[in-house]
Amino acid sequence: MSRATAFDMTRRAFGAGLCLCCLPSLARAENFSLEEVAPSVFIRRGVDAEADAANLDGIANIGFIVGEKSVLVTDSGGSLADGRLLRRMIRDKTDRPISHVVLSHGHPDHFFGAGAFLDEKPVFIGHSRLPEALTMRGEFYRKRLVGLLGESDVGPVVMPTKLVKEQTEIDLGGRRIVLTAHQPAHTTSDLSMLDTSSGLLLPADLLFVGRIPPLDGSLSGWIGQLEAVRKQNYGPTVPGHGPARVDFGPASAALLRYLTTLRDGVRAEIDSGGSIEHAMRHVGQSERANWKLFDDYNQRNVAEAFSELEWQ
């Protein structure tokens, strides 16, 4: 079944008042295939595209970790519909309770799936600054997404019920997950996770692979955080966008290269008295071939970087 067809059927099923859980075969739409990236860690790779009605904003890598007692959702998905697909997939694999849903940061492609898990009554975990970010922008994102997907597929903005200020540990039964809250980097509310039993790192959107990273926190901060994490010599990693599993070393080196190109290019413009317009046209262009959606985000990244760095 082609992806589009599967989704059309899914959407018709919604329209007919059927819930997705009644339609396990449809939920196994091809683009919702899971990859077991480490023992009992399952990831759905997001598509490298902008959110639209066909992809249901399923553009981020989301998934779950199964412990002996319970399940942790690593990120919930880009819409209620996306979150429901994930929940269905979890229930295909295990009956253990979903004890935790991580909201890795305040971007809609990661948190709008949370609504699909409300009746499981999990703990929703987020960075201590996530409530602020969701308060300021959540409803704005919701309206924009409703414009793309329609009201019924979007769902509510779910607030975290447990906040991480520095670091916290969760036990899923024989499986400890360490969550770390980061200083402003990709956004002001980035959480990363480490599955201690497999050594798998889940840095969410602190790591983009192949898709251009949008800058919405602090360029200097992001570079600093990446450099610090790189010193830990992590191996297998689930990036927020890109392949479901990569090796942290080379993947983070590529991201760091883009971010430092951005930083150095913008600094050079500022130091030579160059304008933001000139910087937006020229900085980062050497990276153009390396990233999907480059033209959609690079200029904005340059403007963000410029307005951050010119005050330093």
Binding site: D57, H110, T135, F140, L148, T188, G273, S275, E304, W311
Partner: protein
């Protein structure tokens, strides 16, 4: 690093929303048609210039703005004026913004008005006009159509308190060392959230009250460089580039006031500045 507020967002992020929908040709009776835009401009013109109209500029004033703004809350625009001594005053008008006059500048004897750069918010697809008033009082204009949207209503990514940190801080940078009598480009940076009253706190459902820079004056000693009246169309943390013919005073005084009647003033010792 001081947290900038340029996090003022615009529907972007990994979220994957592009700011502007594809621009479609509009029927003549639609508010988006060129005719409707022109008619709105004529109304605006009457109001702003008290019944006078601006003639096509013929190269005296030129507006440079992006066709499609990547960041609607931070859209750079440049106005060039040639020959500079013909011009007394300048307006930058974003026709379809809620407060269209982004800036009105009156140049003084210490100005070099050949180029001014602004960073503005653009709330919708709109025409933007740069209008110059010549020494004889007549008006000339240049216009550009800019595709961008949501620059005014996009919520900030941070709390009001965070956004107000460092309010009133000023920086002044020169392209090269300042010498009396030699025209030089200056960049004035102002830290101010420029709350436009359209940004909603999504939890309380209350709008952050408007608080924006409404006046900037720049003097070289006692000599005016320019006075600017501005409004909510300037981006957060506004940055202005302007030309200056430095006098021998060595002191550039910048005064900034905002809509809550707070005044900030700073004297820059410009002959000794290295930045």
């Amino acid at each position: 690093m001081t947290r900038r507020l340029a996090t003022v967002l615009l529907g972007l992020c990994a979220a994957g929303f592009l700011a502007a929908p594809a621009f479609a040709q509009s029927p003549d009776n639609s508010p988006d048609s060129p005719a409707a835009r022109e008619s709105r401009w004529q109304d605006l013109e009457k109001t702003v210039f008290h019944g006078k109209t601006a003639a096509p500029s013929n190269g005296v004033v030129t507006l440079d703005a992006p066709n499609r703004a990547e960041d609607a809350a931070l859209v750079p625009m440049t106005v060039t004026i040639k020959p500079a001594d013909k011009v007394k005053a300048l307006w930058l008008i974003i026709d379809d913004n809620p407060m269209p006059v982004a800036a009105h500048i009156v140049f003084g004897p210490a100005a070099d008005p050949r180029e001014m750069k602004f960073r503005v918010r653009v709330n919708d697809f709109t025409n933007v006009h740069a209008v110059a008033q010549l020494q004889d009082g007549s008006l000339v204009e240049d216009a550009k159509f800019v595709k961008a949207s949501g620059g005014c209503s996009a919520p900030m990514g941070q709390s009001e308190g965070e956004a107000l940190k460092g309010i009133g801080e000023m920086r002044l940078k020169f392209a090269r060392p300042v010498q009396p009598g030699v025209p030089v480009e200056a960049k004035l940076m102002l830290r101010h959230p420029n709350f436009n009253g359209m940004q909603m706190n999504q939890l309380t459902r209350l709008y952050t009250p408007a608080r924006y820079i409404d006046k900037v004056t720049v003097r070289d000693g006692d000599t005016k460089v320019f006075d600017m009246d501005s409004g909510i169309s300037l981006a957060a943390n506004p940055v202005l580039s302007f030309g200056l013919v430095p006098r021998s005073s060595g002191s550039l005084t910048v005064e900034v006031s905002d809509s809550s009647n707070t005044l900030w003033r700073r004297d820059f010792d410009i002959l000794r500045m290295t930045d």
